[in-house]
């Protein structure tokens, strides 16, 4: 089951990546036209960067989703259920407002990333602290803390939004839509990639314990898994990857939610294969969304990738739900 599943996931990823490399606008007599062809080497280089960026980000979201779904024992868990995207959004809003107060008219992309990073990690620590009990991280308390902290930060973002002028509001809105940086900074990209590799390694090395974590706490503990320690690891990995992903590209929904579900159906429930499967599924989904985005021309520039993942991911999730075969 798993070999065929991996083959399918890899084929999907390679096909999407191939299309993304070949698909793009080409100047044709003063008019841009969408073509599917092997591009000039400098264009190819740009598009390769974009593909690498999407693959890494998709993998990060897929792994974060998997870690949080096991942690919270909830198939609805996604990287954003812990309030991290709202926290990051608030961080960005604060940076923009600070720039406005200081009389700076435009904020560079780096400034937004710093704000998002700060907001994301502050939220992660806050939710982690609120969600702790004597017995470690309690799933219900964590989800409730995440949702409420997220709601507070969202309200904070709206408050700040009211206080800044229109131009900056646009920046904030575009960040909130979730966009893949076409030309990511080297540091940002390598941080993302290193986080993915580290998260992958930690999850893969705990794969068998993750299987046992599907039992009740009592059963997992009696089977020899230190569930308190495992939850701490899952919270760390899931939260960290989600925070890095949000800081990198803004909140891109559904990839982290659906990626692990698709992987479970294709490679099975065992985490020795599911960790790699979720990363691959996340990557394939995001590259596909990014490719689709290239093909949709509304005449006002490309759609943010977050809009594509939400438009396609929402119905896809509902289909998974209705088909009744999704794994709990």
């Amino acid at each position: 089951m798993s070999a065929r599943g991996f083959a399918l996931l890899l084929t999907a990823l390679c096909t999407a990546a191939g299309c993304r490399l070949a698909l793009g606008p080409v100047a044709d007599g003063g008019e841009l036209r969408l073509t599917l062809a092997i591009p000039a080497s400098e264009v190819l280089e740009l598009r390769t960067t974009a593909v690498c960026s999407a693959v890494s980000l998709g993998a990060a979201l897929g792994l974060a989703g998997l870690a949080l779904q096991v942690l919270l024992r909830n198939p609805l868990a996604s990287p954003f259920v812990l309030g991290i995207s709202s926290g990051a959004g608030f961080g960005v809003a604060l940076v923009l407002a600070g720039a406005y107060a200081a009389g700076v008219s435009a904020v560079s992309f780096g400034g937004e990333i710093a704000g998002a990073m700060l907001g994301a990690f502050a939220t992660l620590l806050l939710v982690g602290w609120l969600g702790r009990s004597r017995a470690g991280h309690d799933p219900t308390t964590l989800v409730l803390s995440g949702v409420i902290v997220g709601a507070i930060f969202s309200a904070g973002t709206m408050l700040v939004e009211q206080m800044v002028p229109h131009g900056l509001r646009g920046d904030l809105l575009s960040w909130m839509a979730g966009r893949l940086p076409e030309l990511p900074g080297r540091t940002a990209f390598w941080t993302l990639l290193a986080s993915v590799v580290a998260g992958w390694l930690v999850l893969a090395s705990n794969a068998r314990a993750l299987d046992v974590a599907c039992f009740t706490d009592d059963e997992a503990l009696a089977s020899g898994v230190d569930i308190v320690r495992l939850r701490r690891i899952l919270f760390g990995v899931g939260g960290f990857l989600a925070a890095v992903a949000v800081a990198y590209a803004g909140p891109i929904g559904f990839v982290g939610l659906i990626g692990p579900h698709i992987a479970r159906r294709l490679v099975g429930p065992r985490h020795t294969v599911l960790v790699a499967g979720s990363a691959l599924a996340g990557a394939a989904l995001l590259v596909t969304a990014d490719t689709a985005r290239q093909a949709i021309d509304l005449g006002t520039g490309r759609l943010p990738v977050g809009v594509v993942t939400a438009l396609a991911g929402g119905p896809a999730f509902l289909w998974l739900l209705r088909s009744g075969r999704w794994n709990r």
Binding site: D218, L221, R328
Partner: protein, 263 residues
């Protein structure tokens, strides 16, 4: 606590447990000898499950007072070390992933190491060999219970202490007889000092299958000792606050030769 006699495989000394203001266990002591099946009986809410969880050491340290000693395992041993000597099956086992019954049983050996023969034997013992490749979710409540028992059997394939919380609720009579037979065989035949402790809400069944019994009331031990002398109307009437009488069993499964029948 003083060192255990070689005959004792699991002991608790003055164990107390509180849930907030509610006192669940009040200085409960007990010693489980090798080769025995101990039944814990008592009315709903008397602390049976709490006692079993404390004995299994799945309640976090600090949540209770007193000591629990498992023969052959350091007092401060890791969860993995304890898993080599005792297994635990809760009242309602759950699996939040689409594993098959066989995979669930395999996972029981997480801390011990893979052993397909042990997994096969365990599935056979609960009568699920033929349905082993069905997903856990698609099994009935009684079958899920049996999968969890098989997991505990596979975990301690070479013997140990089985702690089972209402293991036979929802299990049909023929399978009750089969599982009890397997449990007796495992408890008595394993060379390494095995025993089982189970909570049961049916005192009649407890008297039919257990060698020892503990009767609880309001978090305390009301009586303990040989099952035949403890599970009697006078003590049970006090435990259940309702008059209990000797009555012939209306219908019961025939238990195997290895199971001691008392009724």
């Amino acid at each position: 606590m003083e060192s255990m006699t070689p005959d004792i495989v699991l002991a608790a000394e003055c164990v107390s447990l509180r849930y907030g203001a509610t006192r669940a266990l009040d200085c409960v002591s007990l010693a489980v000898r090798r080769g025995t099946i101990t039944a814990i009986v008592g009315a709903n809410g008397c602390g049976k499950t709490s006692l079993l969880r404390v004995l299994a050491q799945v309640i976090e340290p600090g949540g209770h007072a007193g000591t629990v000693t498992l023969a052959g395992v350091d007092q401060h041993g890791t969860a993995a070390a304890r898993a080599t000597r005792r297994a635990f099956v809760p009242q309602r086992p759950e699996v939040s992933a689409s594993f098959t019954a066989r995979e669930v049983v395999r996972l029981g050996r997480h801390a011990i190491g893979t052993n397909e023969a042990a997994v096969g034997r365990a599935l056979e013992d609960v009568g699920l060999s033929l349905r082993a490749d069905q997903t856990f979710h698609t099994l009935s409540g009684g079958e899920r219970q049996r999968v969890a028992i098989a997991r505990a059997f596979a975990q301690l394939d070479s013997g140990g202490v089985w702690l089972l919380d209402e293991p036979l609720s929802g299990v049909d009579p023929a399978e009750v007889a089969r599982i009890i037979g397997a449990l007796c065989r495992r408890v008595t035949s394993a060379a390494t000092g095995s025993a089982a402790v189970l909570t049961l809400h049916d005192p009649g069944l407890a008297r039919a299958i257990a060698t020892d019994a503990i009767v609880m009331r309001e978090g305390r031990v009301l009586a303990s000792g040989d099952a035949a002398s403890v599970l009697v109307p006078s003590i049970l009437s006090e435990a259940y606050r309702h008059e209990m009488v000797e009555a012939p069993c209306w219908l019961a499964p025939r238990l195997g030769a290895g199971v001691r029948m008392r009724s």
